[in-house]
Symmetry: C2
Subunit: 175 residues, 2 copies
C-alpha cells in the first residue's frame, strides 16, 4: 500500500534532509517540497501565515499532486510546516479520492537549546535567530497529539537510518 508522509515541524528541525533521505529509500517516490509549491504564486504572492486563501490553495495543490503520485504507485513525502487542522482537511480530500493509501504525520522536534545551536551553525544568511522559536510556540499552542511528535534532539547523524525506519514503521505516526 502506498503511503503519504507529511514531514512537519518548526523551521530548523531537519524537515528537508529527513524528507529527501526518506524519498531516496523507496523504489518509487515523489518529494513535494512545500515551499516550492507555495512560491509558484508570483503576482499577488503573500506568505502563508498572512493569507488563508493562499495557504488553502497550497494544500489543494499538495492534495492533487499527491493523488496523482499515489495513483502512479509512488510513495509521497510532503515537507512543510503542517498544522493538524490542515492535515485533517488534506486527509479527508485524499481518502475521498483514493483508496488503499495510508497517511503518516510526523512533527519533527528538537529541544530549544539544540534548535538554537543548529541555527547558529548555518551560514549567516540562513540563520533565523530567535525567530525559529516563534514557530515552536505556534506548534505548542496547537496542542498536537503527542504521538505525532518525534523528538530527535539526541539522534546522532550515524543513527539517521534508525530514525527513518521509525518514521516508516512505527504505527504511532499513522494518521
Amino acid at each position: 500500500m502506498n503511503k503519504i508522509y507529511i514531514i512537519s515541524g518548526p523551521a530548523g528541525v531537519g524537515k528537508s534532509t529527513t524528507s529527501i533521505r526518506l524519498a531516496k529509500q523507496f523504489d518509487h517516490s515523489a518529494y513535494i517540497e512545500g515551499d516550492l509549491i507555495n512560491h509558484m504564486v508570483i503576482g499577488g504572492y503573500l506568505p502563508p501565515w498572512e493569507s488563508e486563501e493562499l495557504l488553502s490553495l497550497t494544500w489543494e495543490n499538495f492534495a492533487d499532486l499527491s493523488i496523482n503520485f499515489v495513483q502512479a504507485k509512488k510513495n509521497v513525502i510532503i515537507d512543510y510546516v503542517a498544522f493538524p487542522e490542515e492535515v485533517e482537511k488534506f486527509s479527508q480530500k485524499i481518502y475521498a479520492k483514493v483508496k488503499n493509501v495510508e497517511i503518516k504525520y510526523v512533527v519533527l522536534w528538537v529541544d530549544h537549546a539544540e534548535l538554537l545551536r543548529r541555527d547558529a551553525l548555518r551560514i549567516k544568511e540562513h540563520q533565523m535567530g530567535v525567530r525559529c522559536l516563534e514557530l515552536v510556540d505556534e506548534f505548542e499552542s496547537k496542542g498536537i497529539d503527542k504521538r505525532f511528535v518525534y523528538n530527535t534532539t539526541n539522534i546522532q547523524p550515524s543513527n539517521l537510518n534508525e530514525m527513518l525506519s521509525n518514521i516508516r514503521e512505527n504505527p504511532r505516526f499513522n494518521y
Copy 2:
C-alpha cells in the same frame, strides 16, 4: 477571463526568463516551472524523453495545478518543452473541468547560429553545445503549426516588453 500560457521551445531560447517576466506582469499569477514538477519524482526517476509514463504524470500534474490556480483566479504560466500532442491532451483536460479559461501556446524560437551563440555565453557547466540543436530538430520534426512559433532572434533586450505584449495579445497564439 484567466489565461494559461504554455511557453515552450527548445532549450536555450529563453523560456524561463520570458515566463517569469510574464508572470510578474499580472496582479494574480502562478508560474509552473515544468522541470521542478518533473523532478519531484525521486525514487524511479527517469528523464521525460525516456519514460512516457512519467511524462504523462508530469502533464497530469500541470493540469491539476493549473485548474487550482485558474479557479483561484490566477493567470498561469507553464514553462516546459511542450510538444503539440501534449498540449492537445492538456487542453482537453482543462476545458473539461474549467469554463472561462483561454489557453495560449507559444513556441519560442531562435535561429541556430543565435542559439549556439547564446549557449556559448553561459557558464561552462550550463553549456549544452550542439545538444541544444537536437531539441530544435525534434520540434521541427513535429510539424508545429507556424502560428504558434515566435522567432525572437532579432528581439533586443530593450524590446522585451513588446514581445511580452505580443504573447499576451496576439490571437495567433490562442490554442
